[in-house]
Symmetry: C2
Subunit: 342 residues, 2 copies
DNA sequence: ATGAAAGCGCTAACAG
DNA sequence: CTGTTAGCGCTTTCAT
């Protein structure tokens, strides 16, 4: 049997003090050596590093965090305001989350994910911030929590939100110009021959409201009728709701602006089921440009959100705020991606 | 002006000691009151709770964690072994992640997400575990890290892995019986009239290897040829690779078993582009039963994984391991979901 | 039922 | 360059 457990885990070297004893130095020196501070003798440092490696030692981040008053963790909160149904699920948010994980990892931060149901929990944001577990917070989606976020932003700098930008708002937001995107969608539908438009989706979430508003801008200007066909986001309800709308409005609407690609895809399936040809009888435009957009039949014309730029922007702004800077919001331009559905 | 800031954030009450002073009791009592311990006078407790609420006070979790030697955080690691490309992206994993967040939140745990690129980082798992930031670890996907996970499992109980179960393995795993799923897929393709099969996807990841092995079981038993058409998972490469395969094998293969629904959907788009009718000329079966499966044209026959049961299983087993129990692995039955593509 | 005191593991002055 | 010391904020004996 070897006398020391080189596996590390389960061995006896758990604290910096243990390691100090082994190295014949003081805990302070070990701390400095492991932190890469300059004021340590090269030989001593090597010895300590070797020992640390041999025993698989890692300094306890809780202790370090407590002492330094910073954790190296960024909290990511996803508020589920409207549509209280369990599940984060939304493909766009999940993709954004993945990219955030990439970006944050790059910058040396860990990501703590928290789903919150604001209805059950008045002060979800304060609780998260006050927990002492995170150095800063990224909120994905304003949901119906705009006011609460505004309040918190007044007293807490290191927070950035993915969502819609409103004139004069106080919290720092990164997001696509939804209203402009909505205008582009409506214009495209009309250019493709539509004479009676519908917005398919929930208009309560602020991002969607802006998309709708953009479409309305264009519809009113050009004198084209525009109605709202409300849906939820949950996949199961979605198809039924769309089917019902189609049954009620068949033959009237010939241009559909779906709030998201997911909704658009579901809608195209229902259109096919009813024997309505896309884009000949009904034109349809989505929003997001998720992978699914290129796989529908016919491929979906959509308003692209630059999700990579979004993730980078969120992290970049957050880091600057962590450094004390008062950053402006970042509004990304949407892009019309013409495929075959309109 | 009010004399005390009822907003909480930014106020002067940051520690349990501050609150104790305000309440005229000792820090110990405040701690007990807030923790809901029984041995506190009801009146005192109420007073303390009121004060805490008024000042928006939350005990610092780092300090509490350090003292109690537990953090209330579960680490979720997603190793990106093969396919080193950035991005987690994979829809199945992301959905699982969302469900895990739900389950863990339910149980009072937070979720710390970490993407790891094992190639750049030999001891990613030890580092995560040793960081002291997490009470336990869930690993999503074995990737090519089976051996490393086995090693770690020997000395660390609170870890559960989503992936494939292999005879005699030592780490606790939750996952679908991929081999059985592969058999079901191949059987279905053949029952639908296929006479020459192909497995579409990478066979390196252990889950996919098992799916392929299942298909091979059936193919060999029935004397049907089966070839491998390798692909990556990244959406962009995917379509090109499939196109190339189809160009090379057009007219030979009439039954495709795609490693995932995502791959199947991309494949169907390419088949359509080449004018091959599904299921008349080519049958295709996917794996996962993601939402997209019901929206392809025609709708995709697939092998369903019970992802909800998977998430529940992972969390349930992990909690039992946190309590010291040596749990068995959980193998979930796949389910053939017949739609129109085979 | 409450207070006093020790200490979780680490880091950052402050000495030397 | 290194050791000593104090203390981050909380919980938990041990007294009372």
């Amino acid at each position: 049997m070897g006398e020391s457990d080189t596996k590390g885990r389960g061995a006896g070297v758990r604290t910096i003090t243990d390691l100090a004893r082994l190295a014949g130095v003081s805990p302070g020196t070990v701390s400095r050596a492991l932190a890469g501070k300059s004021l340590v003798n090269a030989r001593t440092r090597e010895k300590i590093e070797a020992l640390a490696r041999e025993h698989g030692f890692r300094p306890n981040q809780m202790a370090s965090g407590l002492r330094r008053q910073k954790t190296g963790v960024i909290g990511v909160a996803i508020p589920l305001g409207h549509d209280v149904r369990q599940q984060i699920s939304d493909t766009f948010f999940m993709t954004l989350l993945g990219l955030l994980a990439d970006e944050l990892t790059d910058k040396g931060y860990d990501l703590m994910l928290r789903r919150v149901v604001p209805m059950n929990d008045e002060d979800w944001l304060d609780r998260y911030i006050g927990s002492g577990m995170v150095d800063g917070v990224i909120v994905i989606g304003q949901s119906d929590q705009f006011d609460r976020i505004e309040e918190v932003a007044d007293g807490y700098l290191p927070m950035v939100v993915w969502g819609n930008h409103t004139q004069g708002q106080r919290h720092c937001v990164v997001g696509t110009d939804n209203r402009l995107g909505g205008r582009m969608a409506a214009e495209r539908l009309i250019a493709a021959g539509a004479t009676s438009l519908a917005f398919l989706g929930d208009t309560a979430p602020i991002e969607f409201a802006a998309r709708y508003a953009g479409a309305r801008d264009v519809a009113m200007r050009l004198g084209v009728p525009l109605r709202v066909l409300p849906t939820h986001l949950a996949p199961d309800q979605l198809s039924e709701e769309i089917a019902a709308h189609l049954a009620g409005n068949a033959g009237e609407v010939d241009g559909i602006f779906a709030a998201t690609d997911t909704i658009a895809a579901a809608c195209m399936a229902q259109l096919r089921a009813r024997g309505l040809a896309v884009p000949e009888q009904v034109r349809i435009v989505g929003f997001d440009d998720l992978p699914i957009a290129s796989q529908t039949v016919p491929p979906l014309t959509t308003i692209r959100q630059d999700i990579h730029a979004g993730a980078r922007g969120l992290v970049d702004l957050l880091l600057r705020r962590l450094a004390g800077e008062e950053t402006e919001s970042l509004v990304l331009p949407p892009q019309l991606k013409i495929r075959a559905s309109a």
